[in-house]
Amino acid sequence: MASRLENEPALIQAARRGDLEAFNTLVLHYQDGVYALVYRILGEPAAAADVAQEAFITAYRHLRDYRGGSFRAWVFRIATNACYDELRRRKRRPAMLFDDLPGAEVDDGPALPADSPTPEQAAQQAELNRAIERCIRALQPDQRLVLVLSDIEGLSYQEIADSAGLNLGTVKSRLSRARAGVRACLQAVQELLPPVYRLNSERE
């Protein structure tokens, strides 16, 4: 996922000059990451696709504002802002909050890992994944964003800081709170966890 485009700077330069082909090469490289980010933040595939597309359009129009550094972080920042815009829109229409949608976790996309041996294990894994996703979505948006950028997108602290517009200290503390939040949330589904993952803090 984090593989580098070797000619990325040249592509960015070309795209800045209006080379749409060059920009689309960048899009193809980053679209999975951008979509995953948006999807994890919004939790809804259809809206996520729209917002991801919107983010790439915005990125293309604002290429001049890119000042070097991690292009991924820059694109993610645009996607993040697009997510916040969407979340604000939802706030104005509370009925559309994904958390309130019954069975929102049903359309969580491809949840089955490819190497699930038995249907039973696969079902259990899927259930665990849904629980994890639910716990992520239960976080405050600010914490959720940092957690997704770090543990799903694999960004460095500096890249997270760039993407989310935070300083490093805030990234650090917010990420720790997000992880602690998910960890506490997963206590509720202890029985789903494989023994090796048991969050055994209850054992005192």
Binding site: D32, A36, R61, P110, N129, I136, L147, K172, Y197, R198
Partner: protein
């Protein structure tokens, strides 16, 4: 129990997992981990949590988000298409509308029924009235127009038209009206008033009237009958083109004042009725002004879209 862990402890653990603690912090934390089983347990729980989150199946984009040329286009202002074609069409339409508007307004200014006072355009500009149509028809043969009884009304209308012309932001129009006035003076009362022509002229109006007007101006000595015979054959397009063409002769006072009066709508319809039809008789100036304003609006549209396109 994890409860005696402070937020700072969590921060340290979290950062430790990511390997971003400073060397001193790392050593201090590792020393504590040796002594504090709760801290150790919490670290493992946190590590497991991160592993679970990282282990979520990767999400793939459901489709390509590559941009189409249309998406790459700069955002439209007020949904205005900013293509060159749109600007060009707007500009062309603006010119046509302005020309048409001028024609409608000018078509009102015929030969002066009142005394041929050169220095009083208001008098020279004349409203075409039903009775005048007759005159116009008479003009065809005599190239003279006059409807003395209409003079008063003509004056009224002309004044309205003149003020409207001044209100208009279009310079050309302002110039056109007086120029026309200069051309208009004709031998007053050369012809006696005749009964309204029943449908011979029909609703010569708008561009068609303009046509006649134009022709009258340019080809002074030509038999007007031919002109009118010609007029109905004009297609609207041709007529408007002709209307455009008229603007030039109208502005240049070289033409001899031959008052081929633009006929106004008569009760009897003519087969070739042009887009701005009879109702113009009721509000003739209104129509002209509306056309001019619409033209101005389109012109502004063309300019705005051009500017937007240039900037992007």
């Amino acid at each position: 129990m994890a409860r005696d862990l402070t937020p700072h402890d969590y921060e340290q653990l979290s950062a430790y997992l990511d390997g971003v603690l400073s060397e001193a912090e790392r050593r201090a934390l590792e020393a504590r981990l040796l002594d504090e089983p709760d801290l150790r347990r919490e670290l493992e729980a946190l590590r497991a949590t991160v592993a679970l989150v990282r282990g979520l199946p990767p999400v793939k984009a459901p489709r390509d988000f590559t941009l189409t040329a249309q998406m790459a286009r700069p955002p439209r202002l007020l949904f205005l298409p900013t293509t060159a074609a749109f600007s060009a069409i707007s500009a062309a339409a603006a010119v046509l509308l302005v020309a048409l508007g001028l024609v409608v307004l000018l078509s009102r200014s015929g030969p002066a029924a009142a005394p041929p006072v050169m220095d009083e355009p208001a008098v020279a500009l004349q409203m075409t009235m039903p009775a005048e149509q007759e005159t116009a028809r008479q003009n065809m043969t005599a190239t003279l127009a006059a409807a003395p009884p209409l003079a008063e009304m003509a004056l009224e209308f002309t004044e309205a038209a003149a003020s409207a012309a001044q209100d208009s932001t279009l310079q050309g129009e302002d110039q056109a009206a007086p120029a026309d006035a200069m051309l208009a003076p004709a031998p007053a009362g050369a012809l006696p008033e005749a009964p309204p022509p029943a449908g011979t002229l029909g609703r010569m109006f708008g561009a068609q009237a303009e046509e006649a007007f134009d022709a009258g101006l340019t080809q002074t000595p030509s038999p007007p009958a031919a002109l009118f015979a010609q007029a109905p054959t004009f297609t609207p397009g041709a007529a408007s083109l002709a209307a455009q063409a008229t603007m030039t002769p109208t502005l240049s006072p070289t033409a001899t004042p031959t008052p081929t009066l633009p006929p106004s709508p008569s009760p009897t319809p003519q087969p070739t009725t042009l887009p701005p039809p009879a109702p113009a008789l009721a509000a003739p100036d209104g129509l002209g002004i509306v056309l001019l304003l619409a033209g101005g609006l389109l012109l502004a549209l063309a300019l705005v879209t051009t500017v937007i396109r240039r900037r992007s």
